[in-house]
Structure formats: structure tokens, C-alpha cells
């Protein structure tokens, strides 16, 4: 099982979802994939499909319409998974703290494992966050088979 365990931290596939932030953090996440920061060095791929993802990178303060989408994405992601809240508006709402249509933070909807600060979070901070997320991923256990996911 040693190899399987190591493989887990060597091959994190990420799913990136924006729940209503300003794009600032989203483009920094994309910047992490591009030559200058190239997180594929760590085996990371931006996979775009929750069923294949290990790490959820969530940005934005979560609005009412996004809440259910976010929950569904979280449920569809197979275990073990970690959630990284990128940017301060994903942590507390940040500058949108008094906006009426926001819930203020990803942790109001799904459990968050790692918070990355910054507005916008710098690519370096995002990489650090993912590295911490990988340490958390290593500690988590794999779940069993989940039949019939989707709309649960």
C-alpha cells in the first residue's frame, strides 16, 4: 500500500470552482497551471470533472444560487478529498462582507481544510496552500464504493 499512498500525494487532480468572487483568484489559479508556476510539476492537473478530482479549489464568497452547485460538486467528488478556500472572500467574504446576496465564505456550505489568504491570493500562496492540502490528503482514508451519485 506504500505506493498507493505515495501516489495519492503525487497525483492531485484539482477541480476549480468560482462561487462568485471577482475572478482575481481564479486567474491566479490558472496562472499556477501556466509555465511560470507550472503545478503539473507536482502532478496536478486541472481536471474540470468532480468525479476525477482530489482537491477542490474554491474561490469566492458563495452566493445563494451557487450554494447548491457547490454542495453537489462536493458530494460528487470521491473520497479522499480536500477543500482549499482560495482568497479571503472564500474564507470570510472579504470585501463582499456586506453584500446582500453572499453567504460569506465557503465554510458556510462545505467543510474547508485549508484557507489561503490574500486578495488576490498570489500563485505562491496557492502553491503553499495546495502543498498543505496534500499533507491533509495523506492523512485521510479512502472511502468505499458509493453507488449512484449525482443528485443525492
Amino acid at each position: 500500500m506504500g505506493f498507493l499512498k505515495r501516489a495519492r500525494v503525487k497525483s492531485p487532480w484539482i477541480l476549480h470552482y468560482c462561487t462568485g468572487g471577482c475572478n482575481g483568484c481564479d486567474i491566479e489559479i490558472l496562472a499556477c497551471l501556466t509555465p511560470l508556476y507550472d503545478v503539473e510539476r507536482f502532478g496536478m492537473l486541472n481536471i474540470g470533472n468532480p468525479k476525477h478530482a482530489d482537491i477542490l479549489l474554491i474561490t469566492g464568497p458563495v452566493n445563494w444560487k451557487n450554494r447548491d452547485v457547490l454542495k453537489r460538486l462536493y458530494d460528487q467528488t470521491p473520497d479522499p478529498k480536500v477543500v482549499v478556500a482560495v482568497g479571503v472572500c472564500a474564507a470570510t467574504g472579504g470585501v463582499f462582507h456586506n453584500c446582500v446576496n453572499t453567504l460569506g465564505g465557503v465554510d458556510k456550505v462545505i467543510p474547508v481544510d485549508v484557507y489561503v489568504r490574500g486578495c488576490a491570493a498570489r500563485p505562491e500562496a496557492i502553491i503553499d496552500g495546495v502543498v498543505l492540502a496534500l499533507q491533509k490528503l495523506e492523512q485521510k482514508n479512502s472511502g468505499g464504493v458509493a453507488y449512484a451519485t449525482g443528485t443525492r
Binding site: 470585501v95 485549508v114 484557507y115 498570489r122 500562496a125 503553499d128 496552500g129
Partner: protein, 114 residues
């Protein structure tokens, strides 16, 4: 079709442009504005920073009985705008260039006047 080829050849032979980040840390630009550093010893608890903070990351609380003011700073709400550092009359605040470390819990910093 082969218009991209020259770029590829150049890329291949000039080596990767990647900044090997966690291994080699790049020196931040001297005027980067990333993280707020607070010196409670200089602070007079005047409240200006709390009043102007656009993200309400700084809040002040008055304890009338003990004649004390507490100041709370939530770095998980701070948008690094640097307004407070600019306006603080005591220069108790300053924008530093280092990035924040990631964290697994949200912590609010507190300080209280004597």
C-alpha cells in the same frame, strides 16, 4: 500549420521558464503589498483603521467599564488594500512583502489597550 513550431523550438532549447517555487523562493518586489503587519506597542487605539477598512477586517470594541479598547484584526478578511497602513497616524501598521502561509483554521488577532 507549422507557425507555432518556431516558438516550440525556442521553448524547448531555452529550457523551462518555470519558477521552481517552493524550492527556490523568489525575492518579492520591494513595493509589493501583500501582508499587513501590526505593532501593538505603537498603536494608540484611535480607531481610524477600523473606520476606513473596506473589508471590515479591523474592528474595535470598547470596554467602557475598564476603560479599555480592544482591536481585532482578521487577516482572513483583509484584502491587502493598504488603506489602514497609509492612514495610521502612529505608523503602527505596515504592508510587508511576504505572502501569508496557508492555514487550516481562521484565527483573529486581538490586542487590547492598557
Amino acid at each position: 500549420m507549422p507557425v507555432m513550431s518556431t516558438n516550440l523550438i525556442k521553448n524547448f532549447f531555452s529550457g523551462p521558464a518555470t519558477r521552481p517555487y517552493p524550492v527556490v523562493k523568489r525575492e518579492p518586489f520591494p513595493r509589493a503589498r501583500v501582508r499587513l503587519v501590526y505593532d501593538p506597542d505603537k498603536c494608540t487605539y484611535c480607531g481610524i483603521c477600523a473606520n476606513i477598512c473596506p473589508a471590515a477586517a479591523i474592528t474595535m470594541e470598547e470596554d467602557r467599564e475598564n476603560l479599555r479598547i480592544s482591536r481585532h484584526y482578521d487577516s482572513f478578511a483583509c484584502i491587502s488594500c493598504g488603506r489602514c497602513a497609509e492612514l495610521c497616524p502612529q505608523a503602527a501598521l505596515l504592508m510587508a512583502v511576504r505572502t501569508h502561509e496557508p492555514s487550516d483554521a481562521k484565527v483573529v488577532e486581538h490586542s487590547t489597550s492598557r
